[in-house]
Point group: C2
Chain length 167, copies 2
């Protein structure tokens, strides 16, 4: 994919275009519903997991814990962001859509929200990028979780995304 990186310009002009995580955060916060979450990109770790955070205060429900819709938004965005980062790295200019999700709300979260997204078992970046490059579209499944501060999981999701090359 290194040749593709040379051939395609970055999708979005941004003061942070040189820093992929800041560029992703700018792109996410340009969406009004994402800005309302108070989202921040917390980092991409060595294992390739993307972390997004949002404060409880902007995402609290009637019971004083994290709102299910905000949890799902953060999980969905973490997967979307993970894929978008890889596409930018590969120099591929594509729209990424979420196609379907299964979400389990396992325990209430009485603290700030963090979503951690990673490739689902059996998925491969190389296969995804090669398919997208050759066929113009490809699908990928991402697993994501919102951990509990005391250990364990508040919410977990498994989502399929579709990427479609813009040209």
């Amino acid at each position: 994919m290194s040749n593709a990186a040379v051939l395609h310009a970055p999708t979005h002009a941004s003061p942070h275009a040189h820093d992929p995580l800041h560029a992703l955060e700018d792109e996410l916060l340009a969406m009004p519903p994402v800005a309302a979450l108070g989202l921040r990109v917390a980092g991409l770790d060595d294992a390739g997991r993307l972390r997004l955070r949002a404060p409880l205060s902007a995402n609290v429900n009637d019971k004083g814990c994290a709102f299910g819709g905000s949890l799902t938004s953060l999980l969905t965005l973490a997967g979307w962001g993970l894929i978008s980062l890889r596409l930018a790295e590969a120099g591929l200019d594509a729209d990424v859509f979420v196609a379907d999700s299964e979400i389990r709300y396992r325990a209430p979260l009485y603290g700030d929200l963090e979503a951690v997204a990673a490739l689902a078992d059996g998925e491969s970046w190389d296969a995804f990028l090669a398919t997208l490059h050759s066929r113009g579209r490809a699908r990928l499944t991402v697993q994501a979780t919102v951990p509990l501060p005391e250990g364990g999981v508040a919410t977990e999701s498994r989502s399929r995304y579709a990427a479609i090359l813009k040209r």
Copy 2:
């Protein structure tokens, strides 16, 4: 459940407590992430379906269509609101949690959002309320859709909720 209605006071004091749909809207909008959606309760029809609406402007994504997280939030809240209305009508004071959801994003929506929630096939309000009344907790599955203005479905969900009596 009519005896229960006499025994239990309404959960929330509200200037709209006499009007269940306005009281529900007040309760929903008290949550910051729901206020950010720009949610409105559009009505409960004769078939027992609850409709919630939200403007595209507050819920638009990078592609100019409805953000997946907002679609899921509205779907989840429509089910939550449907159950909350029935609990209020039955005079039962319970917390309602979403337990899990399956969501399919079938087509992009380039317009305002409306979510329509109804009992899933095979579910019964009488059985749900009787179980909640006798055991203190009960589960219920709700189907919800976001229609496309031109016909068809933008997004559909199937979600299970748990209700737990407060006393």
